[in-house]
């Protein structure tokens, strides 16, 4: 099977998965106790007629499965309905926030990859030396620190004491402005630290294992320079397990953003989600949970495709 066919086959498999996610999202929100009408009307006493009118307006009068089908069909076209809280289209609200989370998430992911892979390689190549021990200590700290605590400490030290970063987001400067990117560094580091530590240790152990394999000796016996042996032969095989976990880290980064965005008052979808959960803004909650679910599925798809690309044994 060629790589293209593998990708196609694996891609088709995500369809039932996506349907499952929509079903779960919809069901979950509807299983929460409390009538959305109460939140729409702010618990006002209503006569039966007005209540029926409002229900009809939000489609709440229809059977649940019809509501589900309507929701999925509309969602597929980017229409998630109107927010109960702000009465504005959900899509607009999310699109205003999503780029910020994407910026923070991609910076966090980039920080994790850029620091974890090289330091993991170095730790593996110089295993059981001081370098390795130092990286081990950092990894342990990185995994153990809770996000919200690390965030607060970073704000305290770098923003409050050292004045190197602004304390509040410069949202008026635009997403890709220098100020915004600098501001995003701290939350990105906060989210990325755990992933960095995990990926670094994984890279190290995976590489140590590969370095001991016979094909490494074969490559050396060919007279290849040590650099080629490590970069070409060992690295590719070591990355196989790292790539899978790295892609799954995308999911952790997204979920981590919920907490970190609150700590940093960051205008992303994580904070939006927490705000609206408090207000029972079902259309927004549904849409956000769906988007996060889809992101995780796509991250896994990406992991599988990269896996197949790196390891030919998978795709045949």
């Amino acid at each position: 099977m060629s790589l293209q066919r593998f990708v196609l086959k694996r891609g088709l498999l995500t369809i039932p998965l996506l349907l499952g996610v929509t079903l779960f999202t919809f069901g979950m929100v509807h299983a929460i106790p409390g009538d959305p009408i109460d939140f729409i009307t702010l618990f006002a006493e209503l006569d039966a007629e007005t209540e029926a009118e409002i229900r009809a307006q939000y489609g709440l009068d229809k059977p649940v499965y019809i509501q589900y089908i309507d929701w999925v069909l509309n969602a597929a076209q980017g229409d998630f309905g109107k927010s109960i809280v702000t009465r504005r289209p959900v899509a607009t609200e999310i699109l205003n926030r999503l780029p910020y989370t994407l910026l923070m998430g991609s910076m966090a992911f980039a920080i994790a990859i850029i620091t974890a892979i090289p330091s993991g390689i170095v730790a593996a190549y110089y295993r059981n030396t001081t370098v390795d021990q130092i990286s081990r200590v950092f990894a342990l700290i990185g995994v153990a620190l809770p996000n919200f605590w690390l965030g607060l400490i970073l704000i305290l030290v770098f923003a409050s004491w050292l004045n190197l970063f602004p304390v509040l987001p410069p949202t008026d400067r635009g997403l890709l402005s220098q100020d915004m990117i600098i501001y995003t560094l701290l939350p990105a580091i906060t989210i990325g630290t755990g992933s960095t530590a995990l990926l670094m240790r994984l890279m190290r152990s995976s590489m140590v294992e590969e370095l001991d394999k016979d094909y490494v000796r074969t490559a050396r016996a060919k007279g290849l320079p040590e650099r080629t042996v490590v970069q070409k032969h060992v690295l590719r095989n070591s990355l196989i397990s790292v790539v899978t976990v790295a892609a799954i880290q995308i999911a952790f980064i997204i979920s981590g953003s919920v907490v970190v965005e609150i700590v940093f008052s960051y205008p992303g979808i994580g904070r939006l989600l927490v705000d609206r959960v408090g207000n029972r803004d079902f259309p927004v909650i549904q849409a956000l949970v769906l988007i996060i679910g889809v992101a995780v599925i796509l991250a896994n798809l990406l992991a599988d495709v990269l896996y197949a690309y790196l390891d030919p044994r998978i795709r045949y």
Binding site: K213, D214, Y215, R217, T218, A219, R220, A221, K222, G223, L224, P225, T228, K232, H233, R236, N237, I240, L310, D311, P312, R313, Y316
Partner: protein
């Protein structure tokens, strides 16, 4: 000057449990185009000695002393970079387990071509052609198509052929084959040996064949070195070794080979096991297992001597049969008492002839 001269090679591994004396004062030579066998049980130091030639001994192993002269040049004095121009180019290696020796993530062809590109200064297309030519010469059908196959798409025998193609790709003068057929079944083993024979004849390549299989040695080698516990115990031309073994360990190895028409119920084994290489027994390493051992064997370490003259052996300059047993220095009171029978030919040497088949001791 021989192609390869190994003189007094001593390799030690400094492990947590103690110092492993992997090879001790190993000396031998290999002539151009010659097939030299290195025989012994697992852990006798065969593979270590071959990795030492390639300077691929890894931590905690250290080449403590000795010289490895290849075309008169001491490989141990070369810089890492100079050594890399020899590895894979002038001396190539074939490893035991072809499946693990190949990188699963790259195509077989690429793994051959990369060595060619590196050593022969060819561009991508020429290296590819050369790799296909090599695959073809080791008997891979449809070599051009198979070039892009991954190792897991090859059978075990084909993987071994691919590894041989890799070793041959830069026209080496010496191939070190470390148990190249151990992982294969007997019919494939025969094909692979035939292939090695053929390529060494075509390209006039010397081969150092490491094996524990005396049958393979008999078929393939010109001269043989038998190793025990990191020491050479006998070095001889292959005929001398088979018709007239001079060390009790060699005799023991031979009598443990099953033969067609064998009437024995059980194979003869050498009792006991090889000493661990951290604490060798005093005197002769083999004496705890030797049926002819006497008191003196536990006290004196037998030197490797010329079995005819009893003089210290000179395996680098002389072809004479040498063995490391006190019998040949005249120190044994009872002597070695075994007979060698050769079946299927009229030729027989040794102390006496018997009709019993194989090597037997009485």
């Amino acid at each position: 000057m021989a192609l390869l001269e190994v003189e007094d090679l001593t390799v030690r591994f400094y492990t947590e449990d103690g110092v492993v004396k992997a090879t001790n004062n190993l000396s031998y030579r290999i002539e151009a185009g010659e097939h030299f066998g290195v025989v012994g049980e697992s852990g006798a130091g065969k593979s270590v000695s071959s990795l030492a030639i390639m300077r691929l001994i890894e931590d905690p192993g250290v080449i403590e002393s000795g010289e490895i002269r290849f075309k008169g040049q001491n490989l141990l004095e070369l810089s890492a970079e100079e050594m890399r121009t020899i590895r894979g180019n002038e001396i190539a290696m074939i490893f035991q387990d072809a499946e693990t020796a190949l990188n699963p993530a790259y195509t077989v062809g690429e793994q051959i071509a990369e060595a060619v590109r590196h050593h022969m200064d060819l561009d991508d297309a020429a290296a590819r052609d050369r790799a296909i030519e090599m695959l073809d010469s080791v008997g891979i059908p449809d070599a051009a198509e198979r070039y892009s196959d991954y190792p897991h798409q090859f059978s075990g025998g084909m993987q071994q052929r691919a590894v041989i193609a890799m070793a041959l790709s830069c026209d080496p003068d010496l191939i070190i084959a470390d148990e190249p057929t151990t992982a294969l079944d007997v019919t494939i083993e025969a094909q692979i040996l035939e292939l090695l024979e053929e390529v060494s004849e075509t390209f006039d390549t010397a081969i150092q064949l490491i094996t524990h299989d005396l049958g393979v040695v008999a078929e393939f080698c010109d001269r043989v070195m038998v190793m025990y516990a990191g020491h050479p115990v006998e070095i001889a031309a292959v005929d001398d070794l088979y018709y007239n073994p001079q060390h009790p360990y060699t005799v023991g190895l031979m009598s443990s080979i099953p033969r067609i028409g064998d009437t024995r119920d059980r194979l003869q084994t050498i009792p006991g096991r090889m000493p661990d290489l951290i604490e060798n027994p005093p005197g002769c390493n083999f004496h705890p297992r030797c049926p002819y051992a006497e008191d003196v064997c536990a006290r004196r370490e037998p030197p490797l001597v010329n079995v005819e003259t009893g003089d210290p052996a000179d395996p680098i300059n002389s072809d004479s049969q040498s063995a490391a047993c006190l019998e040949h220095t005249g120190d044994l009171l009872e002597g070695l008492d075994y007979q060698v029978t050769v079946r299927g030919t009229d030729e027989s040497t040794g102390d006496a002839a018997s009709t019993d088949g194989g090597v037997s001791d009485e």
